[in-house]
Symmetry: C2
Subunit: 276 residues, 2 copies
């Protein structure tokens, strides 16, 4: 259960049954790390949300209001997760959005999950999922509310020792984890799946690409298949709550964590916890 919920700035726990977020997944979300009563990487989350609103033709939310409500929802929480949902709001019957939609802002503050407190340097166990990621170039990259592919993939395993599952698209290319982005280290370069037809462009993924460039590390966004992963020097996953997570095992394969680009990973994990 959330520790605090704001709907359009008011403490509330119910919303209209006519909301298009419910009817069609017609909206966007962000999952933000909280530390010392403040959201981390606010600017990156906000930018992705605004890009998503533009792509879905949802009226641009008031940025100062979002910020004020995010800080209010985070207030006095030493650590946690802030989920922000921006739905297109209530609508009539049918796919066509109202001419003048009234988008709804929802903030939910949750406790930090147990995995958030583990030593991030420890390698995690990862598996492959059978459920494919949905292909749609019009929806790729943004964090919209149509997430049944990840839900079905996450249903595939219950073993708590497995931290994440990798998803492929229906054409056989790797997209990433159910809730994370994937990076492959080939000993000299960083490779990561192109997100032009599937997947979410994560905020920590953005930090990896930015910091790699700063450090003079070449990174390549490309199609990757399972064979590429087996042949890698190492793999790591990123998400906004867990930061960086090196992959110890993937199905049958075991990786030597020593070979990973730790200097970059340390810098990214640190940056993911910064405020701006």
């Amino acid at each position: 259960m959330p520790l605090r919920t704001l709907i359009d700035g008011e403490e509330a726990d119910h919303l209209s049954v006519l909301d298009r977020g419910l009817h069609y997944g017609d909206g966007l979300f962000e999952t933000i790390l909280l530390r010392d009563g403040r959201p981390c990487q606010w600017q990156r989350h906000l930018e992705r949300l605004l890009l998503g609103a533009e792509r879905l033709a949802i009226p641009t939310p008031d940025v100062r209001l979002l910020r004020e409500e995010a800080w209010r929802a985070a207030h006095a929480l030493s650590s946690g997760v802030l989920k922000l949902i921006l739905s297109r709001g209530a609508g009539g019957r049918g796919y066509r959005p109202p001419r003048a939609p009234n988008p709804i802002r929802i903030f939910l503050a949750y406790p930090l999950p147990a995995a958030g407190a583990q030593d991030w340097r420890q390698g995690i166990a990862v598996r492959y999922c059978q459920t494919p990621a949905s292909i749609n170039p019009a929806l790729a990259g943004i964090k919209h509310l149509n997430r049944l592919d990840s839900v079905l993939a996450r249903l595939e395993w219950g073993d708590a020792a497995v931290a994440e599952g990798l998803m492929l698209d229906p054409l056989g290319s790797i997209v990433g984890g159910t809730m994370s982005n994937l990076f492959l280290w080939d000993g000299a370069r960083l490779l990561s799946p192109l997100l032009d037809r599937c997947g979410i462009a994560g905020t920590v993924r953005g930090l990896v690409l930015h910091l790699a460039a700063t450090m003079g590390i070449e990174s390549l966004l490309t199609r990757l298949e399972p064979d590429d992963l087996s042949a890698a020097s190492g793999l790591f996953l990123t998400n906004s709550i867990l930061g960086v997570r090196p992959v110890q095992t993937l199905g049958g394969a075991r990786f030597d964590l020593e070979r990973l680009p730790w200097r970059l990973m340390e810098a990214v994990h640190e940056a993911a916890q910064e405020f701006e």
Copy 2:
């Protein structure tokens, strides 16, 4: 606005902000024609809903309860549309569903849209949409709540003279209309898009295939591309509220409605308004 709303059997207009239908589109829906205070084609809608629940691993709803609530929501409405949403219900944070989900049943009764009162034999104007339909074999065919592709496609036109838009998948095959299934008549056979990777298998589509077989008309589910449509003797669309709608124009092309298989179309349009 709906004329009547039931949530888990109670008159209500708000639901929990923790509902997974909102967070992930984690649920299913049906759009059912109402006539003389009763739902039409209840059995076909129910079967698709149960198939969807099985595919999404949502606990099977109580069929007698659904029926009782559907009839209650429809009561005394001489005509209208009944929307049924089955969401996986409230959940914690994260894609993984609760071990024992508590699915929510929502019934919304709406007035019949204006197009429902028009003479169905008149041809309609149809256009092509740019927004692709999402490809995912794990989600194809069922009527789940991840419908952003149709929402974005429906945003592409405002001209009320255009009744429907056709969507292609990202690989270039026709999927159907934003809210309807497509049939092509080649003069001897019925062809319709294979829905193995995209789209919704409509209840009236099921009636077409069933009645065509009864009448000895061959029908073929296959990949169709825009060139196939231009070369057709005729096209028609189906959906549960509008029944059958012959296509008069598609983009630049104009069709001679006389060449369509009217005996089949009449039988389907009639059957779509029957109760079982």
